[in-house]
Symmetry: C2
Subunit: 125 residues, 2 copies
DNA sequence: GCTTGACTTAGAGTACACTCCAGATATTAC
DNA sequence: GTAATATCTGGAGTGTACTCTAAGTCAAGC
């Protein structure tokens, strides 16, 4: 799979795909003899994983660390798990906060609806 | 209330408080004769609101627009509501995505737990 | 009266995450 | 064979949201 195809498939720019690889968010991508990237299924899996984690707000740095640990093999299992647990907890926290804010926005919107209805009635009088 | 007190109360730096005001995220703060900010209860309310919205990921620009509409008074009620509805929908979307990712992380962590247990057993053999 | 410390401003600097550019090379279409 | 298109690299540029600096003002304590 070419970089353009992967770009289209996941909705990430080719620049971003190269950036992620260079930054170590994705293990080095398979190349053809001429040096051109040829993404395997596994490469695509990593792209999808990183896209998902980035969308949830995990930082470039923490994902880079995770891939680094992954590259160091089985003896980093515990460390990788700890990293994921820490990020999971942070994510949970953020979601909780955002749900509070969602409620608040919903309430605010309902208040606006009442105000707008009140204003319309005034105009009809 | 001085800027230092508000900073402490809401956990925002004094720089950030001044930045928010300058950027129009908060209506101009009350001043003493000598030009020093003297936050009223209402000013604090705005700070708290903006802090909450920022934490949920609403952009500086959209909050600036909201405050601008607010400053223009009653005839912007409908526009303000539309803005809040749009942001509420975006927030909902983000929360949904993050909840998916939370599930995925939890699953990944459980897989790590299994792998780690398996590794320990091997070592004990 | 003078130092200390909190406040003021405008504007420069920083961190993060891309995004774009220039110049080179390679493949495809005609 | 040559023009167009896609890829490559290193490195510069951009947008967002702060964060810091410099230079100045003011009130309180010694």
């Amino acid at each position: 799979m070419t970089i353009a195809e992967v770009s289209k498939k996941y909705g990430l720019s080719v620049d971003t795909l190269r950036y992620y690889e260079k930054a170590g968010l994705i293990p080095p991508v398979n190349r053809k003899e001429n040096g051109i990237r040829d993404y395997t299924e596994q490469d695509c899996g990593w792209v999808e994983f990183i896209k998902c984690m980035r969308a949830a707000g995990l930082s470039i740095e923490v994902l880079r660390q995770y891939i680094e640990l992954y590259a160091r093999g089985n003896r980093t299992l515990q460390k990788r798990k700890s990293l994921l647990v820490a990020e999971r907890d942070r994510l949970k926290e953020r979601i909780g906060q955002m749900q509070q804010t969602l409620k608040r926005l919903n309430y605010k919107i309902s208040v606006y609806e009442q105000k707008i209805t009140a204003c319309e009635k005034k105009l009809l009088k």
